[in-house]
């Protein structure tokens, strides 16, 4: 990867998002439009200035429409444009930024709009039931699995391998839900205590109710531009310095779940491109994917920001608070802001954009953060998608 020649440097020049809500009145198209409009307005751009559109959305079965990419097109500014949709499960949101990056870095387009949308409230009785076929139809579904099993099995292995007490993991949920109090789009931000989490209903041990991010509707959008165009539009472009993505085998029962090696592979790809040789020192803050509290820790280690098993200790020491040495999920993450699958990942890219420009308001990390990493994860514990940005 070092020695890779990118035709055009790519900057993020605008961003926007809707509220993340348990159930929105807006249709998916309307959600996509609201986020797109915000992003265009934030950069002072018109849709005519957008050369291409890259949209990400997770399974069609959530919104319950066939060919969701095409369905969302008109709300996402894709009318009569080169438009394409990507889908890699939970990794979609961050992957969308990579998908958009190709469009500009290749020199094919000068500007690209990236949109991510999810409307999970359409799926009944619960979006989880649309997920069931993630388990092998033949040799796993007959056992009557619930989606939570996947997380519980991974969490258990991680906890046992490093002897992590549940309290240290629950601390992540406390931090993120509190951070989200400062996020205008947050769905369920509230100051929960460690006791609240430890007393919440056990779903599939070690997973308890408050360990999990909520099902949501929402959309995000960002605008990408090549260097020449970006410098004409803004004094503070935020550069995408590195991208990485990597997947592991679907035979998840043959893998050791205590460490997401595919996240590390994706991180190395992105860090290499960005010229980062010591992530722990060179990354100022990070937005790893946190659909469950233990996932933030799992992914901190996957992102090579600390040693295996060290993430819970850093959390306990306050290192990952907004005013700590390595802030993690200053946005409030999925746990605090909400989890409309694809939009949640792109929300993290938006957070990097706002933080690196000093526009994160009450969430702003002190000092002068310059380099950050966002990461998403998905499928059957299979994909890591990583983006490194620099202000």
């Amino acid at each position: 990867m070092s020695g890779l020649i990118v035709k055009k440097r790519v900057a993020v020049i605008g961003a926007g998002m809707t509220k993340f809500m348990r159930r929105a009145q807006e249709t998916g198209k309307e959600l996509a439009f609201e986020a797109t409009k915000q992003a265009l307005d934030s950069a002072g751009m018109r849709i005519e200035d957008v050369d291409a559109v890259a949209l990400g959305s997770a399974p069609d079965a959530f919104d319950g429409v066939h060919m969701k990419g095409e369905y969302l097109l008109d709300g996402a500014g894709g009318w009569q444009k080169p438009y394409s949709r990507n889908f890699v499960g939970g990794g979609t949101g961050v992957f969308s930024a990579i998908h958009g990056w190709w469009h500009v870095a290749s020199g094919l387009f000068d500007t690209c709009l990236v949109v991510a949308e999810e409307k999970m409230s359409s799926c009944l009785p619960h979006p989880q039931t649309a997920f069931l076929t993630i388990f092998d139809n033949m040799i796993e579904r007959p056992l009557g699995p619930n989606l939570i099993w996947i997380f519980a099995l991974e969490m258990q292995r991680y906890m046992q391998r490093h002897k992590i007490p549940k309290e240290q993991i629950a601390q992540v949920a406390v931090k993120n839900k509190r951070n989200a109090l400062d996020h205008p789009s947050a769905q369920i931000a509230r100051a929960v205590t460690l006791t609240d989490i430890m007393n919440s209903e056990v779903l599939a041990w070690p997973v308890q109710r408050l360990d999990i991010s909520p099902v949501s509707d929402g959309a995000c959008a960002i605008l990408l531009a090549s260097e020449d165009v970006a410098r004409k539009i803004t004094d503070s472009p935020v550069w995408i310095k590195g991208v990485g993505w990597n997947l592991d085998t679907t035979y998840w029962t043959n893998r050791d779940l205590y460490f997401p090696r595919y996240v590390a592979n994706a991180a190395r790809m992105a860090y290499d491109m960005a010229g980062i040789t010591n992530p722990r020192k060179q990354i100022d803050f990070a937005e790893p994917y946190d659909p469950f509290d233990y996932k933030e820790l799992h992914h901190m280690e996957g992102l090579l920001l600390c040693r295996k098993g060290e993430a819970p200790k850093l959390t306990a020491e306050g290192v990952t608070e907004r005013d700590g040495k390595l802030p993690i999920c200053p946005s409030g993450g999925l746990l605090g802001v909400g989890n409309p699958i694809a939009a949640a990942g792109l929300m993290k890219i938006c957070e990097l954009f706002w933080q690196l420009r000093g526009e994160a308001g009450k969430r702003q990390i002190p000092g002068d953060p310059r380099t950050a990493v966002a990461q998403a994860w998905g499928d059957l514990m299979q994909i890591g998608t990583v983006v490194v940005m620099q202000g």
Binding site: A15, G16, M17, T18, K19, F20, M21, R22, R23, A24, Q25, E26, L31, E34, Q38, S42, G64, P125, H126, Q128, T129, F135, D136, N137, M138, I139, E140, P142, L143, G144, P145, N146, I148, W149, A152, L153, E154, Q156, R157, Q160, P184, S185, V202, L203, A204, W205, P206, V207, D217, G218, T249, Y251, T253, N254, D256, L257, C350, W354, E359, G361
Partner: protein
Amino acid sequence: MPFEPPGKALKEEEFDHNILTVSYQPKAKYAWATGVAIGRFLEGLKAGEILGTKCDHCGRIAVPPRVFCEWCFKRSGTWVQLPDTGTVNTFSVSYIATDTTRLKTPTIPAVIEIDTTGHAGLLHIIGEAKPEEVKIGMRVKAIWADPDKRKASITDIRYFRPIK
């Protein structure tokens, strides 16, 4: 970003009563072909055997069996019969059923590394064990359904029981 981002959040009662909605029940039924590898695997279960495949190139034994090794991308052409014992790699104590309703008695799903394969695991259930007894590293053995009750399904193994 604006102080008040767009979006009209609805409460559950509003979703049910106040706004206009359309309901739809898709009629999606499937008949999934088991394929070459799983077809044979299921036949093996009916006969009371756990079968795996050995990669012609790197020699690793895979269960669930597959016709190709995804590590070295070569054929896994040799079938082997495996012991029906193994070690618990990870487990959970689940109080929620597949339809998200609550269970009174928890189910204990686990990934069980089948003996002699290295670390190849199978997803199954642990039975005849109290939740607090289950540990990672615990040794377990398959308890099979009666031969005339087997259906060439993963449930031909009723559950794995701790070896005491």
